[in-house]
Amino acid sequence: MNRLFRTTVALAALTIALPAFADDAKPLAGQSITVLLPSGQSPTLAADFEKDTGIKVDLQMLTWDDIRPKLITGLIAGTPPADVTEFDWSWTGQFAAAGWYEDLTPLIDADTVKDIAGSAIFTVDGKLLGVPYSNDFRVMLINRKHFTDAGITDTPKTLDELVADAKIIKEKGITTYPIGMPLSTSEGTSTTWYLLTKAFGGELFDDNFKPLFTAPDSAGYKALEFEINALKAGLVDPASTGLKDSQINESMFGQGQTSIMISGEPGRIAQFADPTKSKVSGQIEAILVATESGKTRSYGLLEALGIPASSEHKEAALAFIKWMTSKDYQIKNYGVGVLPTRTSALKQLNDDGKLLSGAVLVEQAPTVEPLFKQGTPTWYPQFSSAVSNAINQAVKGEVTVAQAVQSIADETVKAQQQ
C-alpha cells in the first residue's frame, strides 16, 4: 500500500510540473486555480474566465448548507479549501478573528470599493476581506394581481397599511393567508425578524453590543408581537412554523397562495417571472420595505469572494475576483439571477430596462444598512440560532414574547463571554 501512495504522490508531482504555456497578453495564462461557490452560478463561468484570461478554473459548486463545513474543514486543517471562495456577510466577524483570509485592501482599487458600497460589510479594522459579487438586501414582494383583484391600488408604505391590505385580501377570499413569513427554526426566520426590527425603527444592539430588544417598547419586541398578531389574525399560514423561507417562496408565494412576502429577496424576482418555474409570472413585483413610520429601511446580506491566506495562487485568484466583480460581468451575471453589487452596473441594467422591478430596487439600494454597524460579530451564529429558536417557540405559544426576547438576550450574552 505504501508503494501505491508513493506512486500517486509521484504522479501528482509530475502533473504539477508540466510546463505551462505562457501568453504575453494574458500574463497568468496557463495557471490554474480552484474556486468554491454555491450552486446556481452561470454554467459557462469557468469557460468564460479561461477564455478571457487563460487561467484554468476548477469550479466546485456546493449547496448553500454544504459550503460552510467544506470551508471550515480546509481552513482548520490549515490547507486552502480553494483559491477563491464564497464569503458570506455573516461570516465576517469569525473569519476576521481567525485571520483566515487575505487582506484585499491594497489589491482592489478605490474606485471599485466606492462603486461596491457593500464592501464596508466585509471590512474589519480597515482590512477588506471579501469583494461582494452578489447583492442581496431585503425588499417586500407582493402579488400585484391579488392587490388589484381586491380593489387596492395604493402600494402600502406603513406596516399598518400592509396589515389592512392583507385583511382586505383575506376578506375578499383571494388568498386564505395573505402574508408569507417563515416561522420555523431556520435562518430565514431570524432575517425576517431583523428586517421587522428595522421596520419598527430600531436596532438589534447598541454600540457596545448590548441587546436592545428586551423592553416592551423596543423595536425588536414589537417586531415579534407583529409576527404573533399576524399569525393569530389568520393572515399567516399556521404551517409556517415548520417551513423555511425557500419553501414559503416556492410552495406558497410562487403558487399564488399568498400575497405578500415580508422579507422579500430581489434575487427571486426573475424566478417568479419565469413561467416554466412559477404560476405567478407577470404578477410579482417588489415594493419598498414598509415600516412603522413610512420611511423605508433595509439591510444587506451580501455574498463576497475572498482569498484564503493559505492559497498558493493568489495572483490568479485575484484576477478571478476582479473579473467576476467587474461591471461587465455583473451585468451579464444578472441573467442567472445574481443582482449586481456595483451601483454603476445596477444603474446600467435599469437604464437599459432590463432590471425587473428596477425602479424599486434602485430606490431601495441606497437605504441598505449593514445589520451590525460595528461589523458582524464572531458570535453571530449563536445569536441567529437563538433568535429562530425563540421565535419558533413564541409563535407556537410555548413561551411569551417577553420570555422569548429575554432568552435571546441571555444566550447572546453567554455567547459573547465565550
Binding site: A97, S184, T185, P381
Partner: protein
C-alpha cells in the same frame, strides 16, 4: 451434533501441532486490517482526543492545554443536555423499530418463496435512495399543504387538513425518527436474513418430526441462532441512531426540540468555531454509543456461552 457445532464454540484443543503456523497465518491475515484501522481511524482519533484537551478556537490565539475542562463544561451545558435527551429518545425509537421491523422483514423475505429476490430488492430500496433525495421526499410527504401523508389522511375522511407534523415536540421526534427507521431498517433485515440463511434446514425438519409448533421452533431454533446477527444489527442501529444527523437537519433544521447531539457537535465545531469543544462532545458521543452497544454484545455473549 449439528446444533452444538452451529453454536460458536471456542475450542481450546484447536491449537494442536500446527499452532504456530496458525498464529502466523492469523497475524498475516489480520495485519492489513490492523494497518488500515490504525492509520485511518485510531491515530486520527487519538489526535482528536489530544486536541479536545486543548482550547482550539481559531478565533483565539494559541492552543493552551486545558485538560478535561471541555468535558466538565459539556456536562453543565443545558443546550447540550437537551440534545442528549433528544438523542436518547431517537436511539430508543430507532433501535426498537429497526430491530423489530428488521427481524419481521427478514422472516417474511425468508418465507416468500420464489418472490424472495424481488421482495428483498424492494425492501432494500429505501436504503438505495440517496440520503438527500430521501430527506426531500419525506419533506414533501410531511408537507402540511401538499404532502402525501395529510393527503391520504384527508382522503380517508380525517381532519388533517394542513396539519403541521413538526409543531408538537413529541410528534416531531417521532416523525423525524420514522424517516431514519425507513432508511436504516433494510440494514437490519439484510444482516438478520443472512443469519437466517445460515440455519441448516435439517434442524427444522427434526423439530417438525418431534411435533414442535411454529412459535416453539422460532423460540428454540431460530432466535438462538440469529442472536449473533441481531446483536450486530442492534449495535449498528444504535451507532447509526447516535450519529443521527441528516434527517433532523433537513426536516427541522437546528430546532432545539428535535436537535440531535451530532447536530450540536456540528454547530459547536463548524458554526460557532469552538472547535475543540465540539470535538470533545464528539468523543462523548463515541463513548455513549459504545457503552450502549456493549450492553447487547455482552448479553448475547453470556447467553451463547450458556449453551
Amino acid at each position: 451434533m449439528t446444533l452444538a457445532a452451529a453454536v460458536p464454540a471456542r475450542r481450546k484443543g484447536d491449537k494442536g501441532i500446527d499452532g504456530s503456523a496458525d498464529a502466523r497465518l492469523g497475524l498475516m491475515l489480520a495485519a492489513p486490517i490492523v494497518f488500515a484501522m490504525l492509520s485511518l481511524v485510531l491515530i486520527p482519533v487519538a489526535s482528536t482526543l489530544w486536541e479536545s484537551m486543548h482550547r482550539v478556537n481559531p478565533m483565539m490565539a494559541g492552543t493552551p492545554f486545558i485538560g478535561l475542562q471541555h468535558y466538565r463544561d459539556l456536562l453543565a451545558d443545558p443546550i447540550v443536555n437537551e440534545a442528549w435527551r433528544n438523542t436518547f429518545i431517537y436511539v430508543a425509537i430507532c433501535v426498537a423499530l429497526e430491530t423489530a421491523g428488521g427481524i419481521g422483514a427478514a422472516l417474511l423475505i425468508n418465507q416468500a418463496g420464489r418472490w424472495r429476490r424481488y421482495l428483498l430488492a424492494a425492501v432494500v430500496l429505501p436504503w438505495a435512495l440517496p440520503g438527500v433525495v430521501n430527506a426531500v421526499v419525506w419533506g414533501w410527504i410531511y408537507n402540511p399543504a401538499f404532502g402525501l401523508l395529510n393527503g391520504i389522511l384527508v382522503a380517508a375522511g380525517l381532519d388533517f387538513e394542513k396539519f403541521v407534523w413538526f409543531n408538537d415536540r413529541t410528534i416531531a421526534l417521532f416523525a423525524v425518527s420514522l424517516v431514519h427507521v425507513w432508511r436504516m431498517l433494510p440494514l437490519t433485515a439484510v444482516i438478520v436474513l443472512a443469519a437466517l440463511q445460515s440455519i441448516p434446514n435439517d434442524l427444522y425438519e427434526a423439530a417438525r418430526i418431534d411435533g414442535a409448533s411454529r412459535p416453539k421452533m422460532f423460540a428454540n431454533i431460530t432466535l438462538p441462532l440469529i442472536r449473533g446477527g441481531i446483536a450486530i444489527a442492534m449495535t449498528q442501529s444504535t451507532v447509526a441512531a447516535f450519529n443521527f444527523f441528516d434527517e433532523a437537519w433537513i426536516l427541522t433544521g437546528s430546532a432545539r426540540g428535535t436537535r440531535p447531539i451530532l447536530v450540536q457537535v456540528y454547530l459547536e465545531a463548524f458554526q460557532n468555531l469552538h472547535f475543540s469543544y465540539g470535538m470533545a462532545l464528539s468523543v462523548l458521543v463515541m463513548i455513549a454509543s459504545l457503552a450502549v452497544s456493549l450492553v447487547y454484545v455482552l448479553r448475547v455473549q453470556r447467553v451463547t456461552r450458556l449453551d
